[in-house]
């Protein structure tokens, strides 16, 4: 649910990075934050818990242009990945316009990936969303690991429909901007249909 403000000609959209604990959601967000022009971004807010961090910030991407004379401001959030923070995950997901699922490529994390995906689908459903219908991208992170889950296994287990899939090494920024751009593009397409 985007917030379209005619008074300041701005559209606010929320993109949530979802996935199992320590899959690299925070690394994605911090990489993007560091790459954005300081003049067009807000503060990076970090809410620390014992095991994990929830991060968010908002920014005006200069290269995405205007929609019908409106500037678009993206609000990027991570959810805490650990299983026991379910209430927080659900809360952060509320009002999301787009979702990125960050999967961990380590063989020991396959079950955690599948559980987080199930959790995402259920939580979206509770808010009246269907994952097949919302702007969505799948990121397969930590592709520099050894051992590594083969690409086709991850895709087979986690790919839902025709969503864009990106291999990433978030610590180096590889695949990070591409993932965000893919989901942002889908969000903007939905908005254009709604606005124009």
């Amino acid at each position: 649910m985007s917030f379209i403000n005619y008074a300041n000609r701005e559209i606010n959209c929320k993109i949530v990075y979802y996935g199992p604990g320590l899959a690299g959601k925070t690394t994605n967000i911090t990489f993007i934050y560091d790459s954005v022009n300081p003049k067009s971004k807000g503060k990076l807010i970090s809410l620390n818990t014992e095991m994990d961090r929830t991060l968010f910030f908002d920014f005006l991407p200069l290269d995405l242009g205007n929609i019908g004379g409106f500037k678009t401001r993206f609000h990027l959030y991570t959810v805490p990945g650990q299983v026991f923070y379910e209430a927080s995950r659900k809360l952060i997901l509320k009002g999301a316009d787009g979702v990125v699922f960050v999967a961990d490529s380590h063989p020991d994390r396959m079950d955690a990936n599948i559980e987080a995906m199930r959790d995402l689908k259920e939580n979206l459903k509770e808010y009246g969303y269907e994952i097949e219908k919302i702007p969505y991208a799948l990121q397969l992170n930590k592709r520099d690991l050894s051992p590594l889950i083969p690409l086709d296994s991850l895709v087979r287990e986690l790919k839902i429909a025709n969503e864009p899939v990106f291999e990433a090494v978030a610590t180096k920024g590889t695949g990070v901007p591409e993932t965000l751009k893919a989901v942002a593009k889908q969000v903007l397409t939905v908005l254009k249909q709604d606005l124009l």
Partner: protein, 144 residues
């Protein structure tokens, strides 16, 4: 997507700012913010010492959601307001219906919450937002 976007028109924004400004003056607050439950800043009035209103909005929405969770544990429908006291600043956060949140930033020993004005402001804001939501839902229903 099934859930309609929240669209704020200029005339609605003007109405909201007028209500917030009036509340700002009766409570002698430094700033008043109206935000939605998803953590997005809708409108504000006053001179805020906070440079990042989006951060304030997101954190306030989180705070309201957490308090709502606490209320449910105790069997309460909700705790309608939260008051944080600091050495220089106080923050009063309260729900406006089920879609918005009003945040008053008060300088200690200067501003205070005027209950009657707050109640009146919330009623008018709720009415504006309800009409807005209804209009948007009608548009969405017409589309589908």
């Amino acid at each position: 997507m099934e859930i309609p976007n929240f669209v704020l028109r200029e005339e609605e924004n003007e109405k909201l700012i007028f209500i917030l400004s009036s509340l700002l003056s009766t409570c002698r607050a430094e700033a008043v913010f109206l935000i939605n439950r998803n953590g997005q800043a809708i409108a504000s009035s006053g001179k805020s010492p906070i440079h990042d209103e989006q951060a304030l909005a997101s954190l306030s929405a989180g705070s309201v959601a957490t308090t709502h969770g606490l209320a449910r544990i105790l069997g309460e429908a909700e705790f309608s307001s939260i008051f944080h006291q600091g050495t220089r600043w106080n923050i009063h956060i309260s729900s406006v219906g089920d879609r918005a949140i009003l945040v008053l930033l008060l300088e200690k020993n200067k501003g205070s919450v005027d209950d009657a004005s707050l109640r009146r402001a919330k009623m008018i804001i709720e009415d504006v937002l309800k009409k807005n939501w209804q209009a948007r839902s009608d548009v969405s229903a017409g589309k589908s």
